[in-house]
Amino acid sequence: MLELKIIAFIIWLYTIWVLSRTGLHFFKFVIGSVGLFFFLMFWVQPIVTEPLSMAVTAVAGVLGDFFKMYDSYYQYAILFIPKNTTSVSLAIDYECSGVIEIMAFSCMLWFFPLYNTIEKLIVNCIGIAVIFLANVLRIFVICTLIYFYGNEIFYFAHTIFGRILFYFISIALYFYVFTHSHVIRQKVGSFNYGNSDTAK
């Protein structure tokens, strides 16, 4: 299996090189970012997930401790929300940690043609921080809703409200990094309001 992955990696590198040489930049962006995402999922995600889950739990726990609403057991990546009728332990696993979003954002950024290397490094770090904090905020909101309204609201808090909040921040980040910057930097060329000679 490892051999297969290495072969796929070499083929992917060669494809990127060919696309770069032939000037097919859009395809280079698509294949490059998708390929890099898969290879990061293979090799980096297993290493990063656990510490990231713990970090999300720990930072969300700081808010919980501050407002005295829930406890954090970051060693186990679990948040504990005590209630009278039902106590909820919220486990932060790999799909909750934001690792997939972080890797996807990074992959697309590094193949996006707009920024130079230093800018990509800075934007990537800021993007990771934003996604991380958005995830913390999402979890905090879910826990807060459960704390006040009980486990009956868990489905709404987690499936609808929390995700919408997270998507909203993510989309804002993507828009700012990929769309807004590109519009600002795009050279639209010189323009005029018609032939001034004919007006005379």
Partner: protein
């Protein structure tokens, strides 16, 4: 100048952010061990579970639920005014991948159905290899008056409820006839393993096949409710054993919770002939004797110690745990349940709700909070690709205009 300073600061902050996730890794991380020691639960938050409304403090049970990728761990600190025990205790697990009910059965000898957990091993070496007696109940002739290894069935002193139901039936069928063959194999394999530890199992294996040949689970005439049999595994104690009862191996059960129902002599004292002569009667005497003289009697006042028990799902043992009663302290219990007992695709279990109705109606919930990440990634990728497409299109246009 300001811009440069800002950029430098930004880079420094970014570099500092990179190792941040590693900061959260606790080097002292210790997973929960189901070992009869409850110290790994002390820092976990409990849920109050109690019957009725507004109970006095002494009647509140404290329940803790944790899970990892493959197991659920449960801890119960029983109420001080405890009239509970694990008898007829049913644990209900409700998950997004299915529900399952579990009931707890005290082990009639230690480690009888311990199949998986390495940390479940007793903290002392047992068996003949180490010179200490096994913790398995005695199946030697000395302890059962010479009747246990014969074909005549148990002695009158060894009678049990299961036996009185059909007194004319052979002893092995009376006790085991209605157990599933898999469960029966488990019990029998354990006997063999115990024998292997003592270096005396070869003949026992041969005899075991004969036993299984005799067993006819499809025969409805021999049906006895399996739960009745399992209930009989909580015997009426007729011997004193508890915190002050040392075993032959010189181990005091009060100081080592890993030792559960140690009897006066273990399998190590049996001989090849004793084991090999008739495994049917050996099985019967092992269980039959323990049904009578087992030292687990939680209802008896002043009965202290630590006992192991097995978690059953239907007729399948799936997990195990420990129950401790100490003088002046509330009873405590810990156990694990593998998620594979609910579904084989337990990776998909994100929500677990547990209810122990015997303790109270309150539920303990353990849930994930995933972001549905792939949907988010698809949305983000759509935005990025549209932007990239627009960028290249404009660039191409501007290039062609220049040309």
């Amino acid at each position: 100048m300001k811009k440069r300073l800002f950029k430098t600061l930004l880079i420094i902050v970014c570099i500092l952010l990179i190792p941040f996730p590693a900061f959260a890794v606790n080097e002292g991380y210790i997973p929960i061990h189901i070992d009869g020691y409850f110290d790994d639960w002390t820092d976990k938050a409990p849920t109050e579970v109690y019957p009725g409304k507004n109970p006095p403090p002494g009647k509140i049970n404290y329940v803790k639920l944790f899970r990892d990728e493959s197991k659920v761990y449960v801890y119960v600190q029983f109420a001080y005014k405890n009239n509970q025990d694990i008898t007829n205790m049913i644990i209900n697990l409700y998950t997004n991948m299915g529900d399952e009910n579990y009931f707890l059965v005290p082990d009639y000898w230690f480690d009888a159905t311990d199949m998986t957990e390495q940390d479940m091993a007793p903290r002392v070496d047992s068996g003949a290899d180490t010179g200490t007696d096994s913790l398995a109940p005695d199946i030697s002739t000395e302890e059962n008056g010479g009747t246990g290894l014969s074909d005549q069935g148990p002695s009158p002193e060894q009678g049990s409820g299961a036996e009185t139901a059909e007194p004319e039936a052979p002893a092995d069928q009376k006790i085991y006839a209605n157990l599933e063959q898999e469960t029966y194999m488990l019990v029998a394999d354990n006997i063999n393993n115990q024998g292997n530890n003592a270096g005396i199992a070869d003949t026992a294996v041969t005899s075991l096949d004969d036993v299984l040949d005799q067993l006819d689970p499809s025969n409805p005439d021999t049906l006895v409710d399996p739960e009745d049999i399992l209930d009989e595994m909580i015997p009426d104690a007729t011997t004193d054993s508890g915190t002050d009862t040392p075993t032959d191996s010189g181990i005091d059960t009060s100081t080592d919770p890993g030792i559960i129902s140690a009897t006066d002599s273990g399998i190590g004292s049996a001989t090849d002939a004793e084991i090999g002569s008739d495994i049917n009667s050996s099985l019967d005497s092992a269980v039959g004797q323990e049904l009578q003289t087992g030292n687990l009697d939680l209802k008896k006042p002043g009965h202290y110690g630590t006992w192991s028990f097995t978690v059953w799902s239907g007729l399948h043992p799936v997990g195990s745990g420990f129950y401790t009663r100490e003088e002046g302290e509330p009873d405590q219990m810990e156990l694990f349940i593998p998620l594979s007992s609910i579904t084989h695709h337990y990776d998909g279990i994100t929500e677990i709700t547990m209810k122990i109705k015997k303790l109270g109606p309150q539920m303990v919930m353990c849930a994930g909070a995933d972001t549905e990440p792939y949907l988010g990634v698809v949305i983000g990728a759509g935005i990025a690709m549209l932007s990239a497409g627009a960028y290249f299109h404009k660039k191409k246009q501007s290039g062609s205009n220049k040309g």
